[in-house]
């Protein structure tokens, strides 16, 4: 079940002494922030529902008066009851009934339909209508929602399944998301019917996961292409060599031609992220020539000999 409903004044962020104007202003501001079409975060719908309920109660002076007098249970209180008698009845009924959730429920049918026996069979849903229903608008499809899904380069490469827990109007729910191999940054993965609740039996909106590939210690991602640093010793770069490069699909031998300078990119065709309906991206190994931080006496001697012999000037043009 959901959490107990919050105090309506708290929901709107106004003091209990707030004027109708202040309540209206607070509601309008919050509605503009959390309306499900303005804010596609899956949590926003729940918040908007809460704000709407608080406004429904507090914007009407009569229901507000009853809410002030009787608290969250005000809907169960007979019209001519005075607050002290009600408090006595409640105390007599025992703590259990009094602390139960009495706040208005979910959006659609079944959201809160099974109100506990302490509600006396009153279905709050009927009293309020849904989020957008019950006000002469008829059934309305739920809003689409969007949330970011952070993936590693390896997950984007291989695809797979991921359990994602989201807060929603019915509390937490865990969804298993199928990540297609070769998903790229910003690509949207759609879960049909998992978005905002439709009102009065209208279909739910869709939930979109927007893939975001997290920075990786080794790979940089650009679309489907991957970039990886390939450190070489100066003599390897000068003489040419064959080195192992790690790729998401495993290690690969790469032939570095003689005379390869820093910054040069060696392309490993189609070793980037796969493409479900086309050719895979490439993997580029970027040469970085490294020198030893400390030279042995012998190394120093050889470098000095090279410096004396070589006519190579990397700055000549």
């Amino acid at each position: 079940m959901t959490t107990p409903s919050r105090d309506f004044y708290e929901v709107l962020g106004v003091p209990r002494s707030a004027s109708q104007d202040e309540i209206q202003r607070a509601y309008r501001k919050l509605a503009r922030t959390y309306h499900p079409d303005v804010n596609s975060d899956p949590g926003a719908e729940d918040r908007f529902k809460e704000i709407s309920e608080a406004n429904d109660v507090l914007s009407d002076p009569e229901t507000r008066r009853r809410y002030d007098a009787f608290g969250p249970d005000f809907r169960q209180v007979p019209p001519d009851m005075d607050p002290e008698t009600w408090a006595r009845i409640r105390a007599g009924a025992g703590a259990g009934a009094g602390t139960g959730r009495t706040g208005p429920g979910g959006f659609g049918p079944g959201g809160f339909g099974q109100g506990g026996p302490d509600l006396g069979g009153i279905n709050i849903e009927d009293l309020l209508g849904g989020l957008f229903g019950g006000r002469g608008f008829g059934p309305i499809r739920g809003a689409d929602q969007e949330t970011e899904l952070e993936l590693t380069v390896e997950e984007a490469f291989r695809g797979g399944r991921r359990s994602v827990t989201l807060e929603g109007p019915d509390g937490r729910r865990t969804l298993e998301v199928k990540i297609p191999a070769g998903v790229t940054n910003g690509q949207r993965i759609r879960l049909a019917g998992q978005g905002g609740r439709g009102s009065e039996g209208a279909p739910n909106g869709d939930l979109y996961f927007v893939a975001r590939i997290a920075p990786h210690p080794r790979y940089r991602v650009d679309g489907r292409d991957l970039y990886v640093d390939l450190p070489l010793a100066p003599w390897e770069a000068a003489l040419g060599t064959s080195v192992a490069v790690e790729t998401p699909s495993g290690e690969m031998k790469v032939k570095v031609p003689a005379g390869t300078s820093s910054g040069k990119r060696l392309r490993l065709r189609h070793r980037g992220l796969p493409h479900p309906r086309g050719s895979a991206g490439h993997l580029y190994a970027e040469i970085r020539i490294m020198v030893p931080a400390k030279l042995t006496d012998e190394e120093r001697r050889l470098f000095e000999q090279l410096a004396a012999t070589s006519t190579f000037d990397p700055r000549s043009r």
């Binding site: 509605a31 079409d37 957008f132 865990t174 910003g186």
Partner: protein, 97 residues
Amino acid sequence: MGYALVLVRRERLSLDAFARATHTHPDLIRRLVTLGLLEADRDAAGELWFAPSQVAALGRVQRLRAGFALNYAAIGLVVDLLDRISDLEEALRSSSR
């Protein structure tokens, strides 16, 4: 629970089918098309045809109307601005990778 990816089929709905799917009166739908709030194709016989995506578009129009007590002209502006924002956010996302 597992959810597979859903392929969006390229099919179109007639005005009647669209009205039934959205529980909305065809007259209101025609008016929303005239106001540019819904996209529809008109065939040679003058009948309106709707892409399935327009079901969601109509839901948004109705929610905005219910949530903010907006008139339909104002909703047009809001919808355009929301679309521009999401385009910009998308561009921002792809440029910051």
